[in-house]
C-alpha cells in the first residue's frame, strides 16, 4: 500500500486521487472506534491485522458495506445464506479492481520511468548545450580579444613601419651627409698629399740635377725592332691612334655584318622548315595561299588582323630568298606576323592531333636536326605498327609450338598403341610362335644390338664427362695462377712507386740531369655525360668484383661447353629413340619444347657424372 502511495504521489493524476482517498480514509478512521477494536482484539488474543472477530462481524459488515458503497459496489447482505456468495462476489470484484489498479499502476510506473529518463536526458542535453554555449561564448570572446590584439599590433607595427621608414630615410640622409663629409675630408687630405708630393718633387729635382745618375748601364741596347729609337719624334701619334681606332671599328662592323647575315640565313632556314612542316610549298604559291586564306577566314574572326595584311602576307608562303636580306625595320612587322600565324597553325595542328597532310609528309623528309611534331607522330606510329607486327609474330610462333606439341603427343600415342598391339599379338599367339619365331629372334637381335650400342655410348659419355671435369679443374687452377700473377704485378708496381729507385727509363731524353720523382695520382672521372668515361660507382663496381666476374665468365663458358655437350647428348639420344625432333639449338629450347625428354636427358646427365653443379636449371 505504501509503495502504491509513492507511485500515486509521483504521478500527476494519481495525486488528486490519493488526496481524495486519504480524506475518505480519515473520515472512516474517525467513524471507527479503533480503540475499542484494538482492545477487543487484545482481548480475543488476535493481533492488529485481524480486522474481524466473530463478535464484530456485523459492525465489520456494515463498515465494509459502507466502504463498498462508496466504491460503487453492491453492499453485502446480512443474510447468512447469501452472505458467502455475496462475499465471494465482492471479493472477486475487489480482486479484479485490485488487478486493474495493479496494471494501471505498472503502466503508470513504466510511464513514469520513461518520463524520468526522458527528463534526465533533457536535463543532460540542456546542461551540455549550456556548457557548449558557454564554451562558444568564451571562444568568441577569445577571438574578439585576439582580433582586438591583432588590430592593436597592426596599428603598432604600422606605426613602427612608419617610424622605421622615417628612420631609414634619416639614416640614408645621414649616410649621405657623412659620405659627402668623408669625401670632402678625403679631398682635403688628397690635396695635402698632393702638396707634399709637389714638395718632394721639387726637392728631388733640386737634389738630382743630373737625371742620368740613376741609370748605370754597361752599354746601350739595340732597339728590339732594330730601328733607332724615335723618342720625342715629331710623328703624329694621335693620327695613328685614330687610324687604329678606325680599323677596330671596321673590324667590329665586319663582325657584326657576318653575325647579322648568319642570323638572317638562320631565320630563313627556320622559315623554310616551318613552311615545310606545315606542308606549304614555295612552288604551289597561288593554290596554297588561296586555301590558307579561305581556311583563315573560316577558322576564326580574330585573324582579321592578318587578313588586313593580306596584301602583304598574300605572298607569305612565297618569299624570295632576298626578302630576308631586306632592311629589318621594313620586313620586321611582316615577319613577326607571319611567324605568329605559323606558330598558331602549328599549335592548332598539335592540339587537334591531325595527321599532317600527305603532301607534307612527302615533301618534308624527316630531319634529324629539326624534329617536327609530325615527324615524331609518324615515328610513333611506325613504332606502334612494328610493335603490333612483333606481337603477331610472337602469337604465330606460340601457335606453331602448340601444334607441334600436339603432333608429338599423337605420335607418342600411336607408338604406344603399336607397342601394345605387338604385346597383345605376342601374348595371343604364344602358342603358335614358331611361325613368327625367326621374326622375333631378329627383333630381339636388333634390340640387343641397340642396347649394346647404347651402353657403349653411355661409356663414352661418362669418359667425356670425366675429361670435361678435369678440364674445368685445370681451368680453375690456371685462373688462380693468373690471379696470383696479377697480384704480384700489382705488388711490383706498388714497390716501383717508391721514389728512390734506380733510373730504369727516361720519360724524355732531355731530362737527363733532372732527378724526377714519379707520382701516384688518384683520378676520379666525371660521371655520365661522357660516353667513354664510366662513373666512379661503375668503376668501383668493376674493380670490386672483377675477379668474381671473371669467375662468372669462366663458369658461363664452362656452362656453354656443357650445354653443347649436352646438346650432342640430346640429339644422339633422341636419334636412338628414333624420335623426330628439330635439332635442339639450346637447352632452354629443348626444355621448352619437350619437357619430358629434357628431364630424361637431365636425369641421364646426373646419373652419369654424379655432380649437378652446372645444372643451372
Amino acid at each position: 500500500m505504501m509503495a502504491d502511495l509513492g507511485v500515486l504521489k509521483s504521478s500527476p493524476g494519481g495525486h488528486e486521487f490519493l488526496q481524495d482517498f486519504s480524506t475518505t480514509l480519515q473520515q472512516m478512521m474517525g467513524d471507527l472506534d479503533f480503540s475499542t477494536c484494538r482492545v477487543r482484539a487484545e482481548e480475543s488474543g488476535c493481533d492488529e491485522n485481524t480486522f474481524c472477530t466473530p463478535d464484530t462481524v456485523d459492525q465489520c459488515i456494515s463498515f465494509l458495506n459502507q466502504e463498498l458503497l462508496s466504491l460503487g459496489l453492491q453492499a453485502l447482505s446480512y443474510d447468512n445464506q447469501s452472505k458467502m456468495a455475496c462475499l465471494i462476489n465482492r471479493l472477486y470484484q475487489i480482486l479484479r479492481l485490485f488487478q486493474r489498479h495493479g496494471r494501471t499502476k505498472e503502466d503508470l510506473e513504466n510511464r513514469l520511468h520513461r518520463m524520468n529518463s526522458e527528463c534526465e536526458h533533457y536535463q543532460h542535453s540542456i546542461a551540455r548545450l549550456k556548457t557548449e554555449r558557454e564554451k562558444l561564448m568564451r571562444e568568441v570572446c577569445v577571438e574578439q580579444e585576439k582580433s582586438r590584439q591583432l588590430l592593436v599590433k597592426h596599428k603598432t607595427t604600422l606605426a613602427k613601419l612608419k617610424s622605421e621608414k622615417e628612420e631609414a630615410k634619416r639614416l640614408q640622409s645621414v649616410i649621405k651627409d657623412r659620405d659627402t663629409q668623408y669625401r670632402h675630408d678625403l679631398k682635403k687630405k688628397e690635396r695635402e698629399c698632393n702638396k707634399l708630393k709637389e714638395r718632394i718633387h721639387q726637392l728631388l729635382a733640386d737634389k738630382t740635377p743630373n737625371r742620368r745618375v740613376g741609370l748605370d748601364i754597361a752599354f746601350s741596347l739595340q732597339s728590339s725592332d732594330g730601328k733607332r729609337s724615335q723618342w720625342r719624334s715629331t710623328s703624329n701619334k694621335q693620327e695613328d691612334m685614330y687610324q687604329h681606332l678606325m680599323t677596330v671599328y671596321e673590324d667590329k662592323q665586319k663582325e657584326l655584318l657576318v653575325e647579322n647575315s648568319e642570323l638572317r640565313t638562320s631565320l630563313q632556314h627556320i622559315h623554310r622548315d616551318i613552311s615545310k612542316a606545315l606542308g606549304l610549298h614555295d612552288h604551289l604559291v597561288s593554290h596554297s595561299t588561296m586555301v590558307m586564306s579561305s581556311q583563315e577566314s573560316e577558322s576564326c574572326s580574330s585573324e582579321d588582323e592578318f587578313l588586313s595584311h593580306s596584301s602583304v602576307t598574300g605572298h607569305k608562303s612565297h618569299i624570295p630568298d632576298g626578302y630576308f636580306q631586306m632592311p629589318y625595320d621594313m620586313i620586321r612587322e611582316n615577319l613577326e606576323n607571319m611567324f605568329k600565324e605559323r606558330l598558331k597553325k602549328l599549335k592548332e595542328r598539335k592540339r587537334r592531333k591531325l595527321p599532317s597532310p600527305a603532301k607534307s609528309a612527302k615533301s618534308s623528309p624527316p630531319k634529324p636536326s629539326l624534329p617536327k611534331p609530325c615527324d615524331l607522330e609518324q615515328f610513333k606510329k611506325e613504332m606502334e605498327i612494328l610493335k603490333k607486327q612483333i606481337k603477331t609474330y610472337e602469337e604465330q610462333i606460340e601457335k606453331q609450338k602448340r601444334e607441334k606439341e600436339n603432333y608429338k603427343e599423337v605420335i607418342q600415342q600411336q607408338e604406344d598403341m603399336i607397342q601394345n598391339a605387338i604385346q597383345a599379338h605376342k601374348s595371343q599367339s604364344s602358342g603358335e610362335v614358331f611361325l613368327d619365331d625367326s621374326k622375333l629372334m631378329q627383333e630381339k637381335e636388333s634390340l640387343l644390338e641397340q642396347r649394346r650400342l647404347f651402353n657403349e655410348e653411355k661409356i663414352n659419355f661418362t669418359e667425356e664427362r670425366k675429361q670435361f671435369t678435369e678440364a674445368a679443374i685445370k681451368l680453375e687452377k690456371e685462373r688462380r695462377a693468373l690471379e696470383e700473377e696479377k697480384t704480384t704485378i700489382l705488388k711490383d708496381q706498388f714497390f716501383q712507386i717508391s721514389p728512390f729507385r734506380s733510373p730504369v727509363e727516361k720519360s724524355t731524353p732531355s731530362k737527363d740531369s733532372a732527378r724526377l720523382l714519379p707520382s701516384t695520382p688518384l683520378f676520379s672521372p666525371a660521371p655520365s655525360g661522357q660516353p667513354k668515361t664510366p662513373s666512379t660507382v661503375e668503376l668501383f663496381r668493376f674493380l670490386g668484383i672483377t675477379p668474381k666476374e671473371r669467375l662468372l665468365q669462366h663458369r658461363n663458358t664452362s656452362l656453354d661447353e656443357s650445354s653443347e655437350l649436352q646438346q650432342s647428348h640430346n640429339s644422339e639420344y633422341l636419334d636412338n629413340n628414333n624420335t623426330v625432333t628439330n635439332s635442339a639449338s639450346a637447352e632452354s629450347s629443348v626444355l621448352g619444347e619437350e619437357p619430358g625428354l629434357a628431364r630424361k636427358t637431365l636425369f641421364l646427365r646426373r646419373s652419369s657424372t654424379g655432380s649437378n653443379d652446372d645444372l643451372g636449371v
Partner: protein, 471 residues
Amino acid sequence: MNCICCCVFEHTIDNIAFCFLEFDMNFSELFRQSNQICKFSPDGKFLASVVEFRLVIRDVDTLQIQNLYTCLDTIQHIEWSADSQFILCGLFKRGIVQVWSIEQPEWTCKIDEGSAGLCATRWSPDGRHILTTADFYLRITVWSLVTKSVSYIRYPKRCQKSLDYSNGGKYMALAERRECKDFISIFACDSWELVKHFETETDDLAGIEWSPDGRVLAVWESPIKYKILLYTLDGRCVSKFSAYDNALGIKSLAWSPTSQFLALGSYDEKLRVLNHITWNAVATHSHPPTVKEEDVVVYKEIETRAPLPPGNDIDAPTAALFTPQSKYEVDQPPIDIPVVKPDTNRANPKLGVGMLAFSCDCKYIYTRNDNMPSTLWIWDVQKLRLCAVLTQGAAIKCVEWDPLQPRLALCTGTNKLYMWSPTGSLAVEVPVEGVFNVHSLKWHPDGNTILLLGKDQMCVCYLSDPGAEKS
C-alpha cells in the same frame, strides 16, 4: 726514371681513355727559393728563381743552372722581358733595379731611383724600357735602355691595377689622379707620347684592364660602389654597368680570351657575365650554400686516414706510406657547401667572388667565393650553368688554367696537387722528401709543366703524354 701511369684504373679497364688527364706525372726534386719569386720565361725555355740575393736561371727541361746572378740586396720582384732576353730584379728596400741579360751574362744594368724610393717596377712591352714607380706613387719613371733617356709620368693613381698594356703592346693605359678626379692617359708605347687623356666617370677608380683584342678598356670603381665603365681608345664611354647600389661592389674581374665576355665577381657572392655587344649581363650565377642541380658533377676531396708510422727514423719513401692520401669522390647533389661566416665589421671582408678566370678555350669559368674558401665552382660559359664543383679539404690557395687546354690545376697549401678537366679530376701527392706544402703554382706556357711553389722551396711537375712518347 720510370713513369707510372696516372690513371689507376687503367690496369683494370683497358678501353677507357681519359682524354685530358691521361698522362704521366713526374716531379722534380725540391729546389730552394725565397718569397715565392719564380717565373718561367715567356718563351718557355728558362725558369728564373730567387734565393735571397741570387737570381738563378735554370733550363726548364733539365733544370740545370744556366746562369747565376748576384744582386746587391734581397730580391723582391723579378720580371722577364717579353723577348725573354732580359730579366729585371726589383730591390725595393734599396730603391734600385738590376737588369740581367741571358745571352750576355757580363752585361750589367742598374737603375737607382735614389731618394724618391721604389715600390714597383715593370718592363715596357718592347723589352727596352723599364718603368719604375716611386714611393707614394709619386711618379712613374721610364728608363730607356737604348738611349739611356729618362722621362717621368706624374700623378699615377695608387690602386688595384693602375697600368695596363694593350695586347701587342702598342698602347699603355694609365690611371691618374689629379685634383681629386680620376683620369686615364693613353700612351703610345713606342715613343711614350701621350695620345689621349680623358676623365672617367668614377669617384674612386680601382683598376683598368684592356680587353684582349685591345678594343675596349674596362674601368671599374672601388668596392664602395658597383660600377664598371667601358671606354674605347679615344676615351669614348661605350657602356656602363651597375648591378646594384648601396653595397660593396666589384671584387674581381676577368676578360674572356676571345674578348666576347667580361666576368665580374662581386661582394654579393654572384658572378655576372657581360656580353661584348650590348654589355648587358648574359648570366648571373649565384653561389648557393646548397648545390641542388642534378647535372652538376660534385667532386669531394676525401682524405684517407693513414696509419701511424712505426718509428721516427724511417726513410722518406717509407714515410710517404704513412701520410694521408687524398682522392676525389663524386657526390650526388644536393650537396651542402661549407660556409665561413665572414667578419663584416672589418674592411675587405672575406666575402664574395674573389677569384675567377676563363679557360683558354672560353668554355669554362672558375670562381671561388671567398666565404666558401674550400670550394671551387666551374661554370659552363656556353650553357650558362654550373658544370662542376670541387670541395677541398682545405682553403684553396691558388688556381690556374692550363694555357692550352681546358684543364686547371689548384693547390690548397697541402702537399698535394689537384687537377680538374671536363672528364674528371685527380689528386696527387707531391712525392718528395720532407715537408713540401704547395702554396702557389704556375703553368708553363706550353701547358705540360707546372711549377709548384712552397714556402721556401719549389718543385717542377712534368706532365707527359705517354701516347706521344710511344709515337
